[in-house]
C-alpha cells in the first residue's frame, strides 16, 4: 500500500500504511479538534489550518517521491484505461447526445444539465488521455480521474445499452 497525501477543499487527507510512530506524532502534534480518523475509508483527515504541520509529519515517515511516482502511475493508468475503452466512451457520448437532443433547447432541467456536464467530461477525457503526462495541468488530471469514476457508475453505462 502506498502512502498518499491529498488536499481537498476542506481538509488534508492522509492515507498511510500502519505506522505506530506516525500515529503518535500526529496525535501529539495536532490537537484532537483538528484531526479525525475516518474508520470507513481508513484515512486521517486534518483541517487546513494544520496543513503544513500534517505535511511535515507525513514527510518525516513516508517518502513523498514515492507518493508522486504512485500518482503519476495512477494518471497513466487512467489515461490507458480511457484509450482502451474509447469505443465504449464514444458510444456513451452519442447516447448522451441523443438524450440531450430530446430536451427543448430552452429546458432548464437538472437532468439535462447533468447529462451535458457528463458529456463534456467524457469528451475532454478522450482528448486529455492522449496528452503526455508531463504536460497535463491539475484541472486535466482531476478531469481524467472524474471520468474514470463516472464510467464505473451503472447509470452512465446503462445509457449506452439502450
Amino acid at each position: 500500500m502506498n502512502a498518499t497525501i491529498e488536499k481537498t477543499a476542506t481538509q488534508i487527507v492522509l492515507k498511510t500504511p500502519y505506522n505506530r510512530e506516525f500515529i503518535d506524532a500526529l496525535k501529539s502534534e495536532i490537537p484532537y479538534t483538528e484531526r479525525k480518523w475516518d474508520s470507513y475509508h481508513k484515512v486521517w483527515g486534518v483541517s487546513l489550518s494544520y496543513a503544513e504541520k500534517a505535511e511535515a509529519i507525513f514527510s518525516r515517515y513516508f517518502e513523498t517521491g514515492e507518493v508522486l511516482d504512485a500518482e503519476i502511475a495512477q494518471i497513466q493508468a487512467n489515461q490507458a484505461w480511457i484509450i482502451e475503452n474509447k469505443a465504449h466512451i464514444e458510444e456513451i457520448i452519442s447516447a448522451l447526445d441523443t438524450a440531450i437532443s430530446g430536451y427543448s433547447y430552452r429546458s432548464k432541467s437538472s437532468i439535462k444539465g447533468r447529462m451535458c456536464r457528463d458529456r463534456a467530461l467524457l469528451q475532454h477525457s478522450l482528448r486529455n488521455a492522449e496528452i503526455p503526462v508531463e504536460q497535463l495541468v491539475e484541472l486535466q488530471v482531476r478531469g481524467l480521474s472524474a471520468a474514470v469514476k463516472l464510467l464505473e457508475t451503472e447509470t452512465i453505462n446503462s445509457l449506452a445499452r439502450r
Binding site: 511535515a56 508522486l68 508531463e134 491539475e138 484541472l139 488530471v141
Partner: protein
C-alpha cells in the same frame, strides 16, 4: 470556500505567451503549470473564482487578477530546487510562444490580505520575451533580481 480552476482561462495556450512575475518570495505564473512540475516544485495554485453556500458563484470583477500559480524559490524544508526541476520549468516557460516576465516592485501579496479597500499593487509590466536563459535560471536559484 472552494477555489476552482477555469478551463477557459487557466489551461496553457500554445498560441499566446505565458505571463510571469518575479517576486521576492517566488515566481508567479498566470494560469496553471503542468501538474507533475507543480508537485515537484511545491507550487500552489490560487484562484479568485470561489463559490459560497456550496454552489452560488462569486462573480469576479475586472479589477481582480487572473488565477495564478506561485512557485516558491525554496522547497518546504528550505533547500533549493534541483537544477533538473528548474530546467524543466524553464523549458516549459520557453515552449510554444515563450513567456513575458516582469520583476515585481513589491513582495508577493497574499490573496487573503485583499479586501474591498486594499487591492493588490499594480505590478504587471509586460516586457519582451526573455532570451537570456542563464539570467533567469540564476534568478530562480538565488532568489535575487537579475
Amino acid at each position: 470556500m472552494t477555489f476552482y480552476a477555469n478551463p477557459h482561462r487557466d489551461l496553457p495556450a500554445p498560441w499566446k505567451q505565458k505571463r510571469a512575475i518575479f517576486y521576492a518570495q517566488g515566481l508567479k505564473v498566470y494560469g496553471q503549470i503542468p501538474y507533475i512540475l507543480q508537485r515537484r516544485l511545491g507550487a500552489e495554485f490560487f484562484s479568485n473564482s470561489g463559490t459560497i453556500f456550496g454552489g452560488a458563484s462569486l462573480l469576479t470583477t475586472s479589477s481582480m487578477e487572473d488565477n495564478y500559480t506561485v512557485v516558491p524559490y525554496r522547497q518546504r524544508d528550505g533547500t533549493l530546487h534541483s537544477q533538473e526541476v528548474l530546467n524543466t520549468l524553464y523549458k516549459w516557460l520557453m515552449a510554444d510562444k515563450g513567456f513575458q516576465w516582469a520583476i515585481a516592485v513589491d513582495f508577493h501579496v497574499n490573496i487573503k490580505q485583499w479586501n474591498a479597500w486594499n487591492w493588490p499593487p499594480e505590478t504587471w509590466i509586460p516586457g519582451e520575451p526573455e532570451q537570456k536563459e542563464m539570467l533567469v535560471q540564476l534568478f530562480l536559484v538565488s532568489g535575487k533580481a537579475p
